[in-house]
């Protein structure tokens, strides 16, 4: 009995091998269809997971989306925060790193020693002063040098006072004064255009407010829900100050994020379903050509169930092979695509690989199902060439 089963099994695999090897053209075609499907599945799944994450860090370019201001600062801007608040800001969120920008604002008189031009303008002490990445990039005319007496002039301020890169400036408030050298000019279209940005410590000395800040601006990457949680969490940790989303950007980003991720999911979904159906149609087309094989097997006494099982095994094997090769190619493809779009290679997610292979096997087996119909074939009819 046992020996019989072993022979059966050996025979089963032998027939399977022959089936696969019988027609190399057909084998190639089937592997091509399945492999293409698997590659697209793996590439899209991997890219989809990665792109959404990547998108949230893309929103960095909009600049700060959360601000910390002294409580009740809306009606009066003369209140300040202790600088120690910044220690409560955690540097990491699921979406990446939080960038913090602390600022102290005041109105001071700025003059150019050589020309005698002077104006009263908003002077902002900013730390870090030269944050080009992630903050509205301007026209960085001039070199970016970070030193304590460097400053950044807004374009309208520069025009008003007659400032060019490398001009020396005297910033005075009361009887205190600080010297600085303009490192670059910038145009943002926002209030930054009208002011002079100097080092935070210099501003604190000028305003006689050591270790005080007007506000902290944060760039928090993440999905809308993650940002909400971050704000709530931060507010709990610093009860004395007010943590507020910059609604213009948080709301806009939430809307855009939902749209884009919905679009991506839907496109990927449709493409995957249609691709699966397409592969299935192609495979079924090949499968119904197997009348001869089925007829012969039945003629020499193969039970219908056995014959069907044989073909299903063949399909599963093909699916496995196509899936393993195709999904690997697909993941490679998604890495390349990710690099092309976001400049950073998409991180391959291991879960995608078995999912893609599994789906391919499933599609292969499903597309072998027209064979069930062959079970009703009468072998004699096949051999007479009637069917």
């Amino acid at each position: 009995m046992r020996a019989g089963r072993d022979t059966n099994r050996a025979m089963f695999w032998r027939i399977l091998r022959r089936l696969l090897g019988a027609n190399r053209g057909r084998l190639f075609v089937m592997l091509l269809a399945l492999g293409a499907g698997a590659a697209v599945t793996a590439a899209l799944l991997n890219l989809q997971v990665d792109a959404k994450r990547r998108l949230t860090s893309e929103f960095r370019v909009f600049g700060p989306n959360v601000v910390i201001v002294p409580s009740g600062a809306l009606s009066s801007s003369s209140e300040t925060l202790p600088q120690s608040v910044i220690d409560s800001v955690s540097g990491n969120v699921p979406g990446g790193r939080v960038t913090a920008l602390s600022a102290l604002y005041m109105v001071a008189s700025v003059s150019v020693p050589g020309s005698g031009k002077s104006a009263s303008a908003v002077v902002a002490g900013i730390n870090p002063l030269f944050l080009t990445k992630g903050y509205p990039s301007a026209n960085p005319n001039g070199s970016l040098r970070s030193s304590e007496n460097a400053c950044v002039a807004g374009v309208r301020f520069a025009k008003e006072v007659g400032v060019e890169p490398d001009t020396g400036l005297v910033v005075a408030s009361g009887d205190r004064q600080e010297l600085c050298r303009v490192a670059n000019l910038r145009q943002t279209g926002g209030p930054e255009d009208n002011r002079l940005e100097i080092d935070l410590r210099a501003a604190q000395r000028l305003a006689q407010l050591p270790d005080r800040l007007s506000m902290i601006e944060l760039i928090v990457p993440g999905t809308p829900a993650e940002i909400q949680n971050y704000i709530a969490d931060l507010q709990r940790r610093i009860p004395d100050a007010e943590v507020r989303p910059v609604r213009q950007f948080t709301e806009g980003q939430a809307k855009i994020y939902n749209r884009i991720s919905g679009l991506l999911t839907a496109t990927v979904g449709i493409v995957l379903v249609l691709t699966a159906l397409c592969v299935m149609a192609a495979m079924s087309n090949v499968a119904i050509e197997r009348k001869m094989d089925v007829g012969l097997m039945k003629a020499i006494g193969g039970a219908t169930r056995r014959v069907v099982r044989l073909f299903l095994a063949e399909a599963a094997l093909l699916g496995l092979a196509g899936g393993v090769i195709g999904a690997a190619l697909g993941i490679l493809l998604s890495i390349v695509l990710g690099k092309a779009v976001f400049g950073v290679a998409a991180r391959p997610r291991l879960i995608v690989y078995p999912v893609a292979v599994g789906l391919t096997i499933l599609v292969a087996i499903l597309s072998a199902f027209p064979l069930r119909r062959l079970a009703s074939i009468r072998p004699a009819a096949v051999f007479r060439g009637e069917a």
């Binding site: 075609v29 091509l32 269809a33 293409a36 499907g37 697209v40 792109a51 998108l55 893309e58 370019v61 909009f62 809306l74 009606s75 801007s77 005041m106 109105v107 104006a119 009263s120 509205p136 301007a138 309208r156 301020f157 008003e160 145009q187 943002t188 279209g189 926002g190 209030p191 255009d193 009208n194 506000m215 507020r244 910059v246 609604r247 213009q248 950007f249 948080t250 806009g252 980003q253 809307k255 855009i256 749209r259 884009i260 919905g262 679009l263 991506l264 496109t267 449709i270 493409v271 249609l274 691709t275 397409c278 149609a281 192609a282 087309n285 119904i288 050509e289 695509l337 092309a340 779009v341």
Partner: protein
Amino acid sequence: MFLRLVADSFGRRRRHKLLTGAALALGMGVATAALSVALDVGDRLAKEFRSLGANLVVTPKADSLPLEIGGVDYRPVNAGAYLPEADLPKLKTIFWHNNVIAFAPFLEVRAMALPFSREGRKLASSIADVPVVGTWAEHAVPLPEGGEFRTGVAKTNPWWQIDGRWFSEASHECVVGVAFAKENHINISDSLSLTIGDVTVTPTPLTVTGILTSGGPEDASIVVPLSYAQSLARKPGEYRKLYVSALTKPEDAFARKDQKTMTTAELDRWYCTPYISSIALQIQQELPGTDVRVIRRVAEGEGQILTHVEMLLWLVTLAAMLAAALAVGASSAASVIERQNEIGLMKALGAGSGTVGFLLAAEQLLLAFVGGGIGYALGIVLARLLGERIFGAAPEPTLLVFLVVIGLAAIVTLLGSAIPLRRASRIEPAPILRGE
């Protein structure tokens, strides 16, 4: 005879043709859907990005330096320059006037507010030095060519959330910021009387119609119709700042080129492309004495993300088309491989390789056109569903997509059957007919 052979093949092998056709239709459906979405997504997303608000700001050229801290300008009313409101309809006459989707002028003054309850009872003593923002909520701008354009702050700053409703410009109404309302216990349908300087008569109060949450400095101010702020500031028909929201094309390397170094043809091309910089220039030409600046934070972020998302979708489309092409190619290859008997018989009856190839190619092409056509229809339906679900607007079916899809279907089926056909043409009829 030729046609009869083709018709016979379709009739006899109905099931095969159906499946090959289905594979074709599905594959081309994928291509159509992905292609339609990718073609359309730029425009749709550009509109979506307008929820970030204005991307251009217009200020008087001769203005003094604003002393703005935390969104509040500390200059006195008399300092600085103003712009005439009467020029604003000209914004809709620039070359890209259809891309200007909203604009709102602003005039800020500081006034003393005297709150009254609904019944006319004084709520508190007067509140000094309240920022008052005059703007349009939903203003009808008469257009030079007739008709009107409705615009205002509700469109330029869509994140401003109003509890209640916006004021109507004709009546004495206003909207108060949420922080101001909370601090002074003001509710909807209370009223406020605003004065500047020493006025002996209390002016007609404005009814509060809504509470504004903006997340910005406006939360602590009172928002009134522009005309009211003008009369309060004694600056009739003038405004200080204009925000413009325009649909733009993301800036590319060409847009960043210095306009002074462009040739005339390049300059024309630049001017006639809705880059943010060319729209800014056109606005500056229409509104004399202004300084139009791009709000880089909005515009550049938008450009960068838009470019990336478009690229991503194109790549998805390309991958989908590739997969569809491979599967369809495989399907048509299979349908040729299985027909060696038939080919052998045809050759035995005296058909040349060319004739056989031509016959099979004709069959495949017929299938490609039918399958491609059905696939196109399927893809368009899917793209419509997708567009409507996500953007609330369906992409327009374009001839371009149709041609691309039909062309793709033809090429793929021909390529798919080319290799097996070549092999088939080398078939010796005799062994096949003997059944070997």
